[in-house]
């Protein structure tokens, strides 16, 4: 029966193509194209001072952080540009800007921010604040007639930040691993679910039931070929795309990663089969998997910081096998952790997998007796 399942997938050229596409081209495109940095924020400058000092400040707002798109001449224009989304920020320099600075007083510039995209607005506001602060220090040096070294008489704390595991905050690492695991999730839930429900729709499942095979054997026979296919596809993605093209570091033991993949595929296939056993046709399977997949993918902690979730939501995420799998994936690739640190995640995945499989078997048995 395991062989029959293999043959069924292999014979369906379209499915093979889809698998090939999602484990190579799709992963390549997503990894290549997505940068998680906030760059080239479109900015307009409303300069009411038009002086050398204001020009100097404006010059500092440049790519890659900002992209100067227009110099409006009236306040209405600023409003209009922000409304239309042509710009997400406006820098307003007041009329007496340079005079205040020359007189040794404090000048204030205004930043108007479109808060619609709150996350990136916050980050871009941080950039702007840093630019203004640097310019302010520059003026102070001039004002006091000090050299930059002498400026050190002002007490200050300098924050030297270093990023670990991914020093340049390269989004390729993150996107590559996340996308690979997401694709594995989708395929390993959908494929077995579809295979099982197809037998139901075609009525061939009754034939299976009269064979001496036990329900859990039938389920295993569905899971094993799918697991093997997914595992080899993951191999392909790793060694044909992620490693050679994006040089993703593999600091830990790869065997550990593939062991995790195996358990994960077992878990999600179990989930898929459970869904298939409570639905009667493919349309129902689609809706049910959607209900399961979308939260699993996007609440697993990679996209939204786990720490900021409400308490009950944190509890729910423990039910997502992808949460453990992601933790293992990132730890093996980027941190080089071993089984000693990751055994909890493995236990979590195994427990969920066993549960999913058990539920599937029980439901499967009861629906035919």
């Amino acid at each position: 029966m395991v062989r029959k399942e293999f043959l069924q997938v292999a014979r369906d050229g379209v499915i093979l193509m889809i698998l090939l596409y999602s484990f190579t081209v799709d992963i390549y495109l997503v990894t290549k194209g997505f940068s998680l940095e906030v760059r080239r924020t479109p900015l307009v400058v409303y300069d009411l001072d038009r002086s050398l000092a204001s020009q100097r400040l404006i010059e500092r707002f440049r790519p890659p952080y900002f992209n100067l798109v227009a110099y409006p001449h009236r306040e209405g224009e600023v409003q209009d540009l922000l409304d239309r989304g042509k710009a997400t920020m406006a820098l307003v320099i007041p009329p007496h800007f340079s005079r205040e600075l020359e007189a040794g007083r404090q000048a204030t510039v205004q930043l108007i921010v479109d808060g619609t995209h709150s996350n990136s607005s916050l980050i871009a506001m941080g950039y702007a604040a840093r630019i203004v602060e640097a310019y302010s220090r520059h003026i102070l040096v001039d004002r006091l007639g000090l050299t930059a070294r002498e400026l050190r008489w002002l007490p200050a704390v300098e924050l030297r930040s270093r990023i670990w595991f991914n020093p340049n905050l390269k989004s390729e690492y993150f996107m590559g691993v996340t996308e690979l695991l997401s694709v594995i999730t989708m395929i390993s839930i959908l494929l077995p679910a579809a295979a099982m429900v197809r037998e139901k729709e075609h009525g061939t499942i009754e034939q299976l039931l009269v064979t001496p095979l036990r329900p859990h054997e039938i389920m295993l026979a569905k899971i094993i070929p799918m697991g093997t296919i997914t595992l080899s596809a993951a191999f392909l993605a790793l060694f044909a795309v992620l490693e050679p093209i994006f040089s993703i570091p593999i600091r830990g033991h790869l065997g550990l990663f593939f062991a995790a993949t195996l358990i994960f595929v077992f878990t999600s296939s179990g989930l898929g089969l459970f869904l298939a056993s409570i639905s009667r046709n493919l349309s129902e399977v689609i809706l049910l998997t959607l209900l399961m997949i979308a939260p699993i993918l996007f609440l697993s902690g990679s996209w939204t910081p786990y720490e900021a979730m409400p308490f009950w939501m944190k509890r729910i995420t423990y039910l997502s096998p992808l949460k453990y799998f992601l933790e293992i994936g990132f730890s093996v690739f980027l941190k080089g952790l071993g089984l000693r640190e990751l055994w909890k995640e493995f236990v979590g995945m195994l427990a969920l997998g066993g549960l999913a499989f058990l539920l599937g078997v029980i439901k499967f048995r009861s629906s035919f007796q």
Binding site: D12, F34, Q106, T116, S118, A156, V183
Partner: protein, 370 residues
């Protein structure tokens, strides 16, 4: 509408009605997704655990550390006493960041010199890491300003004053919830429509069409209309959830949004139909539709990150999906309250997109059947 088309519509509705579970799910699934994502998805940095290694505790160093802990963004993960412990905590993910205060922290500040504090951040999740860094830097700058405040305003020649429009509190829910409307209405209509044609191919009932006088466009539109009705119903439900449930302010024109939504779901039902016409098996159609819609719905719509910040390839790819236009209309209608005079080009783009998709489904269908 021709009688033949009405027959196709009635038949498709009957197909949908056959399963009670399915009917229940068509409404429950999008509503549940909205609730789960609306509550669970957030970009706010809150309660981030930080390790602190203070080499010589003093009043100054405690003050410095507490500026971070009192900000609400960070909480004390643990106090450590050596580098090994920091490494361990970061590697195991017990903390996301660590602050190391040098032994001369207090003396340097007293002498009016610069003290250097080390900040270590776990870079596994780059998005979170860069947000943490920018928050930490902002808090550090605040601390510095307070250090020299007593020296008079001359020490800070230039100040920046920020005003945030449209979403003054910068609540991430206000941009996530409208975004969920866009993403849900991309993959959901596509997925429910994707079996409609291919199902008949697999069952062979499509052969009956060859002997009937029905035209290609009547058949495809007849297949599309039931799913358009469901999708519009879904739109209304999740819109109300966003507005009443999550209290996201709606400042725009509802009629405009409704029209945009109709055009958009026509396009996304079109994606499902096109795949349904192209492929031969239901399983294949389901897989392909999931792969090309679920993940791209979140990526290419500008949901997580503004399209302006993306790489070239992705910017080009984002034109493949109608979501970039619809995203603009939805977010601007909710938060900015913008009307027809600005949004008409996006509406036009949506209309063109939907027509193209339906048209190509019809043409391909004719070619395959004829």
């Amino acid at each position: 509408m021709s009688g033949r088309m009405a027959t196709v519509i009635a038949k498709e509705f009957r197909e949908i009605r056959r399963s009670k579970l399915y009917i229940a799910l068509t409404v429950i699934v999008p509503a549940t997704l909205m609730i789960i994502f609306g509550y669970g998805m957030t970009f706010d940095v809150k309660n981030i655990a930080v390790a602190v290694w203070d080499l010589s505790p003093s009043r100054e160093s405690r003050e410095y550390v507490s500026t971070f802990l009192n900000s609400g963004y960070f909480r004390l993960g643990l106090y450590v006493r050596n580098h090994g412990e920091i490494e361990e905590a970061l590697r195991r993910g017990r903390v996301r960041a660590a602050l190391i205060l040098p032994s001369d922290f207090a003396t340097r500040l007293e002498e009016g010199r610069t003290a250097e504090v080390q900040l270590l951040i776990d870079g596994s999740f780059p998005n979170q890491a860069s947000t943490i860094r920018s928050y930490m830097e902002a808090i550090n700058a605040q601390f510095n300003e307070n250090l020299v405040r007593h020296l008079g305003p001359e020490t800070v020649p230039l100040k920046i004053e920020s005003r945030v429009w449209f979403n003054p509190e910068l609540k991430s829910r206000n941009f996530i919830v409208p975004g969920i409307i866009v993403t849900t209405l991309l993959f959901y209509p596509a997925l429910i429509a994707t079996l409609s044609v291919v199902r008949e191919k697999e069952q062979g009932s499509i052969l009956n069409l060859l002997s009937s006088p029905i035209k290609g466009w009547e058949y495809i539109l007849g297949k599309a209309i039931p799913y358009l009705c469901i999708s519009l119903l879904v739109f209304l439900i999740i819109f109300l959830l966003a507005w009443w449930g999550f209290r996201v302010p709606f400042r725009g024109n509802f009629l405009l949004l409704l029209l945009a939504s109709l055009l958009y779901v026509t396009g996304t039902v079109g994606i499902g139909l096109l795949i349904s016409v192209l492929l031969r098996t239901q399983v294949g159609a389901m897989l392909l539709t999931s792969i090309v819609t679920i993940i791209p719905a979140f990526f290419y719509s500008g949901f997580f990150f503004p399209i302006a910040s993306m790489g070239k390839i992705s910017q080009i790819q984002s034109y493949l999906f109608p979501s970039r236009y619809y995203m603009r209309i939805v977010r601007d209608s909710f938060l900015k309250g913008i009307g027809w005079h600005i949004l008409w080009p996006d509406l036009l783009a949506l209309a063109i997109y939907s027509c193209l998709l339906l048209l190509s489904s019809i043409l391909l269908f004719r070619k395959r059947i004829g």
